[in-house]
């Protein structure tokens, strides 16, 4: 029996988590980048510059709403909301402790992968509906890239599902507790790497940020967006980064569990542990972003179809053999 007020409260808490996650990852990305480039970064906003995401949000809200004349108006205006909605949906199933989860679906992993592939449509329509040749090229590149990298993402997770014998995320973490070792060390190391590479491509970050060409197609499919619409894309990107890192740490690194801590207090230390693991993975992604150039579009497709998919199929094969034998 669905209780309306409980649904609203859960949705509100999930929303708060999502926004905080996006803010933490914005700070990690921008401040980390500045320190790597030997400069202090945003400094004068307040608290040595660490509340600059708030300033950015206020800045975007007070900008003029520019809609070019020839765009397909309804599609142009709703594409950002579409991308945001598909990212929000991912936050519901990730557990921060065995009992604190939005809704522990039995098909947790399946639901995750299905919802995350909805954002492709939002990106493609954003690029096509802006009446701009550069946006069109960015949107088409994005469509090809996102579809190509869905498959390694899914296949890498299939190996984990085989080893854990369940699709619910809480069940997967419980299985890792039972094993004693997180899945990355007990047979799914390659799947972890494949998942991280495919996740970076799904988020369209460097080295896979061809759709947002930056030096060729000045912002790709985002070129015509400004003001609040751009803010929605921006927040959706960082939320996506947060949730994919959180999913990776749940599936591969053990989620909210850390050995040697008493399990009665797991409701308190569970969120902290999950956040730490997510931030560590995010830091590695930030380091990769600022040190790599970007792939060319056809090299990107070659990497997905000729390298990652065979590797992940091999991983599934090996995992199933090990599961049957042992």
């Amino acid at each position: 029996m669905i209780d309306g007020s409980q649904v609203l409260v859960t949705a509100g808490i999930v929303l708060a988590f999502a926004l905080n996650g996006a803010v933490i990852f914005t700070i990690l990305d921008v401040k980390g980048a500045s320190w790597m480039q030997r400069r202090p970064g945003p400094l004068h906003v307040g608290l040595r510059g660490f509340i600059f995401p708030l300033a950015e949000i206020i800045k975007f809200f007070q900008k003029e709403d520019i809609t070019p004349t020839n765009v397909d108006s309804a599609v142009f205006k709703w594409a950002p909301a579409y991308v945001l909605a598909s990212v929000f949906g991912l936050f519901v199933v990730v557990p921060i402790s065995p009992t604190l989860v939005g809704s522990d679906l039995d098909l947790g992993v399946f639901y995750l992968l299905a919802i995350s592939s909805l954002s492709t449509l939002g990106v493609l329509t954003a690029g096509w509906s802006s009446a701009n040749k550069y946006s069109l090229m960015g949107g088409i590149r994005a469509a090809g890239q996102l579809i190509a990298y869905e498959l390694p993402l899914i296949l890498a997770v299939v190996g984990v599902v085989i080893q854990a014998e369940t699709m619910s995320l809480v069940g997967i973490v419980e299985k890792q507790i039972e094993f004693g070792l997180p899945f990355v060390l007990s047979g799914q190391g390659i799947a972890f790497l494949i998942f991280m590479v495919a996740a970076t491509a799904e988020m369209m970050r460097v080295p896979f940020d061809m759709p947002i060409g930056e030096s060729e197609l000045v912002s790709g499919f985002l070129t015509e967006y400004s003001g609040v619409r751009f803010l929605i894309f921006y927040i959706a990107e960082y939320m996506n980064m947060f949730i994919l890192c959180a999913v990776a740490s749940t599936l591969f690194l053990g989620g909210y569990h850390v050995p040697l801590l008493p399990t009665e207090w797991v409701n308190f230390y569970g969120p902290v542990v999950l956040l730490t693991k997510t931030v560590l993975l995010g830091f590695i992604l930030v380091l990769v972003r600022w040190s790599f150039p970007r792939f060319r579009e056809d090299q990107l497709q070659n990497l997905a179809w000729k390298v990652l998919i065979p590797l992940s199929l091999l991983n599934i094969l090996i995992t199933s053999i090990m599961k049957v034998v042992f």
């Binding site: 970007r294 060319r296 000729k306």
Partner: protein, 398 residues
């Protein structure tokens, strides 16, 4: 791994892979004057079929400032100040050929100390220009950090140039017959000699050490990265014959395998006293052009260190009259600008200023190869190739 990533990217994709039932038109994409990667206001009208380029037409002239007309109404010292704004990234290297052409007409020679100081400042300008190239090229390929590191290292060189000449980008330090001797012509300012300031030798030695460290760091950070190699190796190959046919010069020519450096053929700068190598590439692709410029920075640092240790003493300028009138005649002098070969053709009718000045700039000839080279390439490769040619619009349009 390289061949897996690059398979299927042969620029001459066979016709069978393109659908023959649907009539498609090529899209005209205007890589317009305002673009993050065109090094200025270059406009390319590209006809694009999906991602493959079928033809490119450069449209120039957005930055024409009329140097050759300006030079007709100005005197020789005034033109010296204007001329270092042609290739604004390497300031000092633009003045040298003009002054050399004028000195050739007047048949005077600069003293030894002046020649050494000119050489040091030219090599510093070369290092500064190549730092900009290294940072900006990585930015166009997609790596967002090396430009910050390159600019930080470049500041030291610019501070050194400022401590000697007073200006960072536009030194205006050359005079006919030598370099600037004194701060003014009055009785007190004449005693204020503009020679090398105290502490210059030690600062330069420190700066050159940091340059060598920076070259190594850039090699590891950018050149060793697999993605960078896959993006630039085998892309935009300029063969020896194509390079010689189109008149490209400078590091592009050397990366295609031709060992031709004008520094060994100049007589007004004492390059023959120093011991340096000329880096030459093998394939002529974008990676070789990037690598040749990186190695040239190292060689320039070595030359500067040798020049500091063997600096002769003496006057800074030969005796020239107060009002300089150059005798009738014509002369053409060319030198090795960081971007290529730069030449000045001065025709003088015996007045205070030249009758006609013609500037042969390296970037104008270098980008004439673009329509030939870019046919059949992919759009990201266009950015990579254009960046590796290292042109500046001030050079192209004058």
């Amino acid at each position: 791994m390289d061949d897996i990533l690059n398979s299927g990217t042969s620029p001459y994709i066979s016709e069978a892979s393109v659908s023959v039932e649907i009539e498609t038109e090529d899209m005209t994409l205007n890589i317009g004057p305002q673009h993050p990667s065109t090094h200025g206001v270059l406009r390319l009208v590209a006809k694009v079929d999906g991602e493959k380029i079928s033809s490119v037409e450069p449209v120039l002239g957005y930055m024409h400032r009329g140097y050759e007309k300006l030079a007709e109404v100005r005197t020789y010292p005034q033109i010296t100040t204007l001329v270092n704004r042609i290739d604004w990234v390497s300031g000092f290297a633009n003045e040298i050929p003009f002054i050399a052409a004028t000195e050739k007409l007047m048949e005077i020679e600069a003293p030894e100390r002046a020649k050494h100081i000119r050489l040091i400042l030219t090599e510093m300008a070369r290092i500064a220009s190549h730092f900009v190239f290294n940072g900006a090229y990585a930015l166009e390929i997609g790596a967002l950090t090396p430009i910050f590191l390159a600019m930080e290292d470049r500041e030291r060189i610019l501070d050194l140039i400022e401590s000697v000449t007073g200006g960072r980008f536009h030194p205006n330090f050359n005079r006919i017959g030598g370099i600037k001797p004194a701060a003014g012509s009055g009785p007190t300012t004449k005693k204020n000699i503009q020679d090398l300031p105290a502490g210059f030798y030690q600062d330069t030695r420190d700066a050159m050490e940091k340059v060598l460290e920076a070259v190594e760091r850039m090699e590891n950070l950018v050149g060793g990265n697999e993605v960078f190699k896959v993006r630039t190796k085998g892309v935009g190959i300029i063969s020896k014959e194509l390079a010689e046919e189109y008149g490209v010069s400078g590091p592009i020519l050397r990366a295609s395998g031709v060992k031709f450096d004008l520094r060994s053929q100049t007589d007004f700068l004492p390059y023959d006293k120093f011991d340096y190598e000329i880096p030459v590439g093998e394939n002529g692709d974008c990676y070789d052009r990037w690598y040749v410029r990186l190695m040239e920075m190292k060689e320039s640092a070595k030359i500067i260190l040798q020049a500091i240790d063997s600096m002769p003493s003496g006057p800074l300028q030969t005796k020239v009259p107060k009002v300089i009138k150059v005798p009738k005649g014509q002369s053409y002098v060319r030198t090795e600008n960081p971007k290529g070969e730069m030449g000045y053709y001065v025709i003088s009718e015996g007045g205070l200023g030249p009758y006609r000045l013609k500037v042969r700039t390296p970037s104008f000839s270098n980008i004439s190869i673009l329509p030939v080279l870019l046919e059949g390439q992919l759009l990201p490769d266009l950015i990579a190739i254009m960046g590796s040619l290292d042109f500046v619009l001030g050079d192209v349009d004058r």
